[in-house]
């Protein structure tokens, strides 16, 4: 009994779930649910379907290369059972998975960094430019501190320029 991967979306298939198709050249296609099976029957390429793992990997959405991936690999040769090794392995698995999750999080946050930065810039600009659209009393009440800060900054700049002029 082992967990298989869906051919289409690469999700884990637990025993007793999904469906599998054996082509006449003996290649086995496993599907986690009817959605994936139907998509396969429609001859869709999983690399071009946005919600699949294959797409995400291909387009840099997910982490593809990492040392944590090298721990888990399918062996086609049966290993003789050894209690010590198995114990160590069972202990190591949670550590490995945790490390991988951390890295994945990091990967995603790194990926989203430029967009976040841009957004912040835009927000700041909008806040600065369109502050006058709101009635003045509202701003004075709530954001007086903020506004005064801005005003202070402006004043400083003006002073500096004046100094230069004088020089």
């Amino acid at each position: 009994m082992r967990l298989e991967k869906c051919w289409f979306c690469s999700s884990t298939i637990y025993p007793g779930h999904g469906i599998q198709f054996v082509r006449n050249d003996a290649k086995i296609f496993r599907f986690c649910r009817s959605k994936c099976h139907k998509n396969f029957k429609m001859k869709r390429n999983p690399r071009k379907v946005k919600w699949t793992k294959a797409y995400r990997r291909l387009h840099g959405k997910d982490m593809t290369q990492d040392s944590t991936f090298e721990f888990e690999r399918k062996r086609n040769r049966p290993e003789r059972y050894d209690r010590n090794v198995t114990e160590q392995t069972l202990k190591a698995i949670p550590i490995i998975t945790k490390a991988r999750h951390e890295r994945l999080k990091k990967h995603i946050s790194d990926r989203q960094k430029p967009g976040k930065k841009k957004e912040l810039e835009r927000d700041n600009k909008e806040l600065e430019q369109d502050i006058n659209m709101l009635p003045k009393k509202l701003i004075s009440n709530e954001a007086s501190a903020e506004k005064t800060k801005v005003k202070v900054k402006v004043k400083v700049v003006q002073q500096q320029t004046e100094d230069r002029m004088e020089e």
Partner: protein, 667 residues
Amino acid sequence: MVQYNFKKITVVPPGKDFIDIILSRTQRQTPTVVHKGYAISRIRQFYMRKVRYSQQNFYEKLSTIIDEFPRLDDIHPFYGDLLHVLYNKDHYKLALGQINTARNIIAKISKDYLRLLKYGDSLYRCKCLKVAALGRMCTVVKRISPSLAYLEQIRQHMARLPSIDPNTRTVLICGYPNVGKSSFMNKVTRADVDVQPYAFTTKSLFVGHTDYKYLRYQVIDTPGILDRPFEDRNIIEMCSITALAHLRAAVLFFLDISGSCGYSIAQQAALFHSIKSLFMNKPLVIVCNKTDLQPLEGLSEDDMKLVMDMKAEAMKTITQAGDPNEEGVLLTMSTLTDDGVMAVKNAACERLLEQRVDVKMKSKKMVDCLNRFHVAVPKPRDNKERPICIPPAVLEARANAAAKEKKKLEKDFEQENGGAGVYSTSLKKHYILANDEWKEDILPEILDGHNVADFLDPDILERCEELEREEGLRLEEQAAQDAFEIDGHELTEEQKEILSQIRKKKALLIQEHRMKKRTAESRPIVPRKFDKDRKFTTKRMGRQLSSMGVDPSAAIARSKSRGRKRERSLSRAAADGDDMEVDGQQSNKKLRLRSRSRSKSRAPEEVIPGEGFKDSEQKKKAIKKAKDATRNRNKEARRGEADRVIPTLKPKHLFSGKRTLGKTSRR
């Protein structure tokens, strides 16, 4: 060696079919088209071919019949006599003879007519000759049709005869009816002969095969024979007699000692003595059947004497004087209880074999062969005893093997631990592991959505430590990076609140603008950015123009109008002209007429000199009248004759609904 197989004789068609076959074949296989205009030689050839072809066919067909039916003189006398008994030799020979004559007659007819055809002088003559030739041939065949029918019957019967080989090892069973011949046959061979409790169940010869000493014996079951003069015997009995007379076989004479067949032992003995001439030179065994009803010992003295007489007769058939083998002459058995059946068979076969070997030994051929044989026998060197020698090592090994304890099998474990259904064997106990304690370990195959087997690795511990180290380094690095990038902070809550309000406001403005745009019906409007304070009014424009010394009324009117149309009317042109030349409003019609270009249109009622109208009023009237006259009458668009009509192509009432009576078109 002649094979006696009468199953392969081709079917003999009855006379009518025979003719049909030949004629249709002639029609099919020879050319069919001939014309008067052909050269006479060609016509003659055409018909000669037909005649010759049908004659050849007749000849072939009849020849096959003659060749395939066996000639009674040539085949083995057993078959010759059998066929004579069954079909009457004279009749058979006569039929074949008739066919032979017919064949010759047909050949002669064709020869004659071919000669005549050579001199045929027209198509008609040739045709008549051909018809006559074929007709005569057919008549000949028609005349022999009874013979053909008879031969066909014989053929069918012969196909069903048992294939008896007269020269092979044969065991022949004979005796009175209902003495148990067929049941013995069923016991000994695989043949399935019908056994019934009445006389003459078996009406013809039956053949089965049995094995003795790796040799194959053919066993022939004959119909029962009654004790009566030879001439009175019927066909069924004659079959048996024929087989007895001509086959060199071991004969089993069946004797029903219980008398339940309806014939006493005396009667059976009488039969034996009347046909004993047929047993000459054949191994004869007297078989006392039905001992389950009446054992041989319990017979009365008279009967016993009769049996002994028969035995004495049978003893005479033993050829070897020096070896009187008494056991194989008189035997008892019961086919019901299977008692002694095999003994009878073995005795018969054994005696037959002996006899055949004897005959062969006496034959000339054997003498030629015998001097080539030599059987080598080692001569004893001395008087020393030389027993078989088995090495002591081998003996020891054998003893060890016997003494060795048997390996305990899974079956034994089962017996010990509660038997089948209770004991279940552990498949793990034969595992080959480093430590035997590990055999019964239970371990997970799946952990947190991963296959444990995929992670198994002897040096996983080191790798895992390395990973942790790596992870620690990475975390430090990241902490440093975060510290570096700390100034790129996010907006505060207040700022976020303000920003959302600003965006809400913006969205509202955009929505409003869109509403306005929609109600303006996509007319051009002065963008408000150019006229924020609504200062650019027509009044101001008028003021400005008049201050510049221009009459503003036309410009004002235009700005108020909905825009310019694309028409090109006189009035517009005039107005334009007026605009250009501000002062001096001249309206000289004649002058304008002359100067006007041809393309310029004019009002229809305008009078043109030369048209013949007095004034425009008159012309207007005339135009109106002309219009009335040519007006389209059908102003209300009613349907008229001239309208195009598409009729209902398939009127529904004629093409749907039930049809109880008549056709759809008639209803």
